[in-house]
């Protein structure tokens, strides 16, 4: 055991032993982790780009609490929609985690239902995003190349980054449905259903990215 002897020599020993580096980790899971690491770099680059143009642009940056305010009961409530969207996505992470748990307990039916619930949350998130976009484009006249409230880069980075994230969520919904269908067909009956955990990794990652986008776009 590495823990017993301790020290970096033991860690290296463990890592470099034959067949696998990560003991007990299925190929798919290892692959998903590596993919997510790579994807992290994509979002990091997008956010770096966003911060750079926010600094270089010559015009003032619009105030997010004005842009993203929503009329409720006759009052403009800042960030109302975004708060709901964020809640939905965080909740979907919860249902996803439950699905993983059900999978390992081999409770196939519950797992499928929870995956479908997760997909439904995801789809509603995308739906709200469509609503938000249409509001920004149609009502507030924000375009990727210009807007009336200041820096044209505001629209450009907002649509690009949330769009790219939205694509991830949409792809995730398709992925969830596809896997749910495969589980239903019995494709994974002879396994431990670690496929659900792999699915979960992706879904949690997409949620985590949203937290960063939320912080950078709406709170800054």
């Amino acid at each position: 055991m590495a823990g017993a002897t301790g020290g970096h020599a033991a860690i290296i020993q463990d890592w470099s032993s034959d067949i696998t580096v990560f003991k007990g980790v299925p190929w798919g899971k290892a692959m998903m982790w590596i993919f997510l690491l790579s994807d992290t770099f994509i979002f990091t680059c997008f956010l770096t780009g966003y911060m750079t143009v926010r600094m270089t642009t010559a015009q003032p940056w619009p105030s997010p609490s004005d842009v993203f305010a929503l009329e409720a009961f006759g009052y403009p409530v800042p960030l109302l929609l975004i708060a709901i969207m964020t809640m939905i996505l965080i909740t979907s992470s919860g249902t996803m985690a439950m699905a993983v748990n059900m999978g390992y307990q081999k409770r196939k039916k519950e797992a499928i239902i929870l995956i479908l619930v997760t997909a439904a949350f995801g789809a509603s998130f995308v739906g709200m995003q469509v609503f938000e976009w249409s509001k920004l484009i149609l009502e507030e006249g924000i375009r990727p190349w210009e807007n009336s409230m200041g820096a044209p880069q505001f629209g450009a980075v907002f649509f690009m980054v949330t769009g790219f994230h939205g694509l991830h969520v949409s792809a995730g919904v398709v992925y969830l449905l596809f896997i749910a269908w495969l589980i239903h067909k019995g494709r994974y009956d002879n396994t431990n259903f670690e496929i659900i955990e792999i699915l979960g990794l992706y879904w949690h990652f997409v949620d985590l990215v949203w937290v960063f986008i939320f912080a950078f776009f709406y709170l800054w």
């Binding site: 034959d18 190349w145 880069q153």
Partner: protein
């Protein structure tokens, strides 16, 4: 929770081909995919070769070929550069060698996800098609230089600014998707699917090089992907990520507030690791070639592994050494010069270890060995000139001159290509079961090695004189101080050498084709090598590689000339109590 079962290559389900199409086109066999990558990369490489002729003809004999317009010249340098760096070198070293060697050298049946691997090739093929489509879209391919710096890349003063740049960026984005699919496979296979006894520190250095290069690729290509997306948006719908207010050829454009430097940072955050994406597999492969053909273990294996890892990690903190005179904050120069020169240390160690491997060896000057030795000397020149350009103040007079052109061609053009050649001569017998023609191989080597040296060594001196790169014509209105008459003569010489060297590459292709049908049968292990790919039950290996049982590894890949052993090599899967009469302790 029950421990998930360890998937093991032994039980892997393989999709055996049922028709010609699934055997040779939509094949899931890593060896077929490797050859597909290789043939595609080589074909597109020949296009790049012809493009280099066009530019050399213009530089060597300005005015002699009036069909070479400035547009064609700039389009040619751009396409040459991008094809060589991405579509040839990256695709060949990782797509082709990575695919072929990883499962075989690790004792695996195939990549962990053969289907994804197959898709990877076809997406790569698509990216090549999109790239080549540049030649049929209105305006032709982009002429922005392979660095594609905005604002220039998308303004009318540059050829292909409306369509060519879009096909280029789209092709790059598609290539990155292909690379990601392949790369995930290589890493997962190397980390999680080795055979029994194959510890990380028993892997041949080729695999270490491929592993680290793939890690770099997966972390560096995102930056290129993001910058491609942003530039497509700038060009297509008029966002201003990279575009400040500009007056392009007298016209005010609707851009404002973007940052051209942001693109350069993103591009080089990809671009510098890219150098090592190309170099590290070459380092690994050449280590193996040197060891096998000098019948001696690679010197300082552990140091070599750590050097690969160190170079890989450091390569992420040196990118702005491409931007010393870009107008970024000058104080960055101190940091990036220091990190850049630090990288020289592990790199130098690798060079020392290659040469020390030759000490008291038993060197067989086979064609692969010739290429390997030529690589070392070429790489020494290219690496040392890198110390000029990495040291911030020394870079100031030399940046954007022919010194840079000579440097990067030596270090990441000629050097890896020499390794690719050497590797093809080395593994061709395993891939096809036949040897390549030796006489043609010797000719190919001598002309390529001496020719490229004649091309690139003197080119450094043009840089000292101050000849800027990417000039369609140097003499406008009489000779200039930076371009004396003698420099024109030198350029003529270089052009002639380039034409000859280029022509001999077609002879190499001829050799590849003819030897496939008429080459001497190779046998299972013509070089007396120790690594697992030479231990397959069949040559060429069949789908699944290993028959019923995977090999078990008992030793590192470098047991050459072990004292007391009967033969001068002991393959990795030979147990210790059976190693030809002598145990190694």
């Amino acid at each position: 929770m029950a421990q998930a079962e360890i998937p093991y290559q032994e039980d892997m389900a393989l999709h055996h081909p049922h028709s010609w199409v699934t055997k040779y086109w939509f094949s899931q066999d890593h060896k077929v995919i490797a050859v597909q990558y290789g043939i595609t990369a080589m074909s597109v490489g020949l296009v790049a070769l012809v493009l280099s002729w066009i530019m050399r003809m213009q530089i060597g004999f300005p005015g002699a070929f009036d069909w070479i317009t400035p547009e064609l010249y700039y389009q040619s340098i751009t396409m040459h550069g991008m094809i060589m760096v991405i579509y040839l070198l990256t695709a060949f070293l990782l797509g082709s060698f990575g695919n072929y060697l990883v499962p075989l050298m690790l004792g695996a049946r195939d990549m962990v996800f053969p289907f994804v691997n197959m898709i990877s090739y076809h997406v790569y093929f698509l990216s090549v098609i999109i790239l080549m489509a540049s030649y049929v879209v209105p305006g032709g391919p982009t002429g922005a230089g392979w660095t594609l710096y905005p604002p220039q890349a998308i303004l009318t003063g540059t050829p292909g600014a409306d369509w060519g740049i879009l096909t280029m960026l789209l092709s790059l984005a598609v290539f990155i998707v292909a690379f990601t699919m392949g790369g995930l496979n290589y890493i997962t296979t190397i980390l999680q699917a080795r055979t029994r006894g194959m510890t990380l520190m028993r892997m041949p250095l080729s695999i270490w090089g491929i592993l680290m290069a793939t890690v770099l690729g997966l972390l560096a290509f995102p930056a290129l992907f993001v910058s491609a997306v942003m530039m497509i948006l700038d060009q297509l719908i008029g966002t201003s990520f990279f575009m400040p207010s500009v007056v392009s050829l007298g016209q005010h454009l609707d851009y404002s507030g973007g940052s051209p430097l942001l693109f350069q940072h993103l591009f080089w955050f990809f671009g510098h690791p890219e150098v090592y994406i190309v170099a590290l597999p070459a380092f690994g492969v050449v280590s193996d070639l040197l060891s096998v053909h000098s019948r001696k273990n690679i010197f300082g294996y552990r140091m070599m592994v750590w050097a690969i890892v160190a170079i890989g990690v450091l390569s992420f903190v040196v990118w702005a050494h491409h931007m010393y005179v870009s107008g970024m904050h000058p104080y960055f120069g101190f940091f990036f010069a220091t990190t850049t020169l630090v990288i020289a240390v592990p790199t130098a160690i690798k060079v020392y270890n290659w040469t020390i491997t030759l000490w008291r060896a038993n060197i067989r000057l086979t064609v692969p060995m010739l290429f390997a030795i030529a690589f070392v000397i070429t790489f020494v020149v290219g690496g040392l000139t890198g110390l000029f350009l990495g040291n911030v103040i020394v870079d100031v007079p030399l940046s954007d001159t022919y010194f840079v052109v000579a440097h990067f061609h030596m270090v990441m053009g000629v050097a890896p290509i020499l390794v690719i050649f050497g590797a093809i001569y080395h593994w061709y017998p395993k891939i096809t079961g036949r040897m390549l023609n030796d006489t043609l191989g010797q000719w190919h080597f001598w002309v390529t090695f001496i020719g490229t040296y004649v091309i690139y060594y003197p080119m450094h001196y043009l840089g000292f004189v101050g000849v800027p790169r990417r000039y369609y014509e140097n003499e406008i209105g009489g000779a200039s101080a930076f371009y004396p008459e003698s420099a024109a003569l030198l350029n003529e010489t270089i052009t002639i050498a380039a034409l000859i060297v280029g022509a001999f590459q077609f002879m190499f292709v001829y050799n590849l084709v003819v030897s496939y049908f008429r080459g001497k049968p190779a046998g299972d292990n013509p070089w007396g090598a120790t690594s697992l790919e030479w231990r397959t039950p069949q040559t060429p290996p069949i789908h699944g590689n290993w028959g019923d049982k995977l090999p078990t590894v008992h030793r590192w890949a470098y047991d050459f000339s072990v004292p007391g052993a009967k033969e001068d090599f002991i393959p990795q899967d030979v147990p210790h109590d059976d190693d030809h009469g002598a145990n190694r302790t």
